[in-house]
């Protein structure tokens, strides 16, 4: 994996239901919005992911919206990250370049 200091995105574009990132070292990452939303790195989502699934969960309007997540805005944060504002209003995730690159690599 490329180290954080040399990692450099050349362009980030919507491509259908996802985001395509062209990196300076020639690598192209395609990140479905669904994956980006599911792997949101904010503290709340990190905690949610660690909980066991709740069988009695009531699905809210917000959840229905989040099922087809669309970013409304993706704001550069300093030199190291992007903040994504989602269509359901969630906006606390700061995606570092390393994280975006990692999400695009095959598991």
């Amino acid at each position: 994996m490329a180290d954080g200091v040399t990692l450099k995105p050349l362009s980030l574009k919507r491509d259908g239901d996802g985001l395509t990132i062209h990196w300076a070292d020639g690598v192209v990452s395609h990140l479905p919005f669904r994956l980006l939303r599911k792997q949101c790195p904010c503290a709340t989502c990190n905690e949610e992911r660690q909980k066991p699934p709740d069988p009695f969960r009531i699905i809210t309007d917000k959840d229905i919206l989040a099922a087809s997540p669309q970013p409304k805005q993706m704001i550069p944060r300093g030199h190291y990250a992007y903040q994504i504002v989602w269509n359901d209003g969630h906006d606390t995730g700061i995606y570092t370049l390393e994280y975006l690159r990692k999400l695009g690599e095959p598991a």
């Binding site: 995105p9 574009k13 704001i75 903040q83």
Partner: protein
């Protein structure tokens, strides 16, 4: 080099943003920031000084500006041709501020987005010690040109300076170099006394592979002038410490000009 983000009009006219940081408290960040700001000005630059130390602001006392009436004052406050902003200018803040971390971030964001900094060559930011809310917010809200790390020569100070270095690497903020403060003291006998040991700053710079920007000697007049509200470099221009600051400012200007600070590309959605 444009470091002010286009999305943030408050910093649009600011060409270089320099964070003066350290891991450890008490190494003289505020003193270095204040004197560096004046030294940059002596090199013909237009300079602002922002106090990001929300809990313990020092800029008001060091620059001899007391609390002002926020209803009628124009921020940033101007003194010695510097543009200044600090939470210490607000009368309520002089009694002390009791805030949780997220509020620190809010104040730093306010200073960076709501204050009309105008046209500046350098905005020097006096950071609080540590690697916390103020540092993270700064590196998220502004495109910082580079950070200078202040340390004193002994190992205990270096221990935390390394953490500050690592933080800026993680946030992909260039580190322009290391400044060693309180390096030595020259007595009346002309002898050099190394009160806090020797060479720590140089060693740190070499280990971290960043530039060593210079050393500033201990001079009792530094503290005296800081308390009196006029940075030492203005009053004792010929002192060794003042000369050290002038050299330092030159080094910072060169380093800032060479820093790679490409802004991240905008996302096309």
């Amino acid at each position: 080099m444009e470091s002010g983000s286009t999305a943030n009009p408050a910093l649009a006219g600011v060409r270089n943003i320099i964070a003066v940081a350290s891991g450890k408290g008490g190494v003289g960040k505020s003193t270095v920031a204040a004197n560096l700001a004046i030294a940059l000005q002596m090199h013909g630059q237009k300079v602002g000084l922002m106090d990001a130390d929300i809990y313990g602001p020092s800029v008001p006392m060091m620059m001899g500006v007391g609390p002002v009436d926020p209803q009628i004052a124009n921020f940033p406050i101007e003194k010695y041709d510097l543009k200044l902003m600090s939470l210490g200018f607000l009368p309520d803040a002089t009694k002390g501020v009791l805030l949780r971390g997220p509020m620190v971030g809010k104040w730093v964001t306010t200073f960076l987005t709501q204050i009309n900094w105008g046209d500046l060559d350098f905005l020097v930011i006096d950071m609080p010690p540590g690697t916390g809310d103020a540092q993270l917010t700064l590196c998220q809200v502004a495109n910082v040109t580079g950070a200078v790390i202040v340390t004193t020569p002994q190992d205990v100070s270096l221990l935390d300076a390394v953490k500050a270095l690592n933080m800026f690497n993680q946030l992909r903020t260039p580190v322009l170099g290391v400044i060693e403060n309180m390096s030595y003291f020259v007595g009346d006998d002309g002898k050099r006394y190394e009160i806090f040991r020797h060479g720590g700053g140089k060693r740190l710079a070499a280990e971290a592979n960043v530039a060593f920007l210079g050393e500033v000697p201990i001079d009792p007049r530094v503290a005296e002038c800081g308390d009196a509200g006029e940075p030492m470099i203005r009053r004792h221009t010929e002192s060794p410490a003042a000369k050290a600051y002038l050299a330092l400012a030159g080094a910072v200007m060169d380093a800032a000009a060479n820093a790679k600070t490409d802004a991240l590309p905008e996302v096309v959605l």
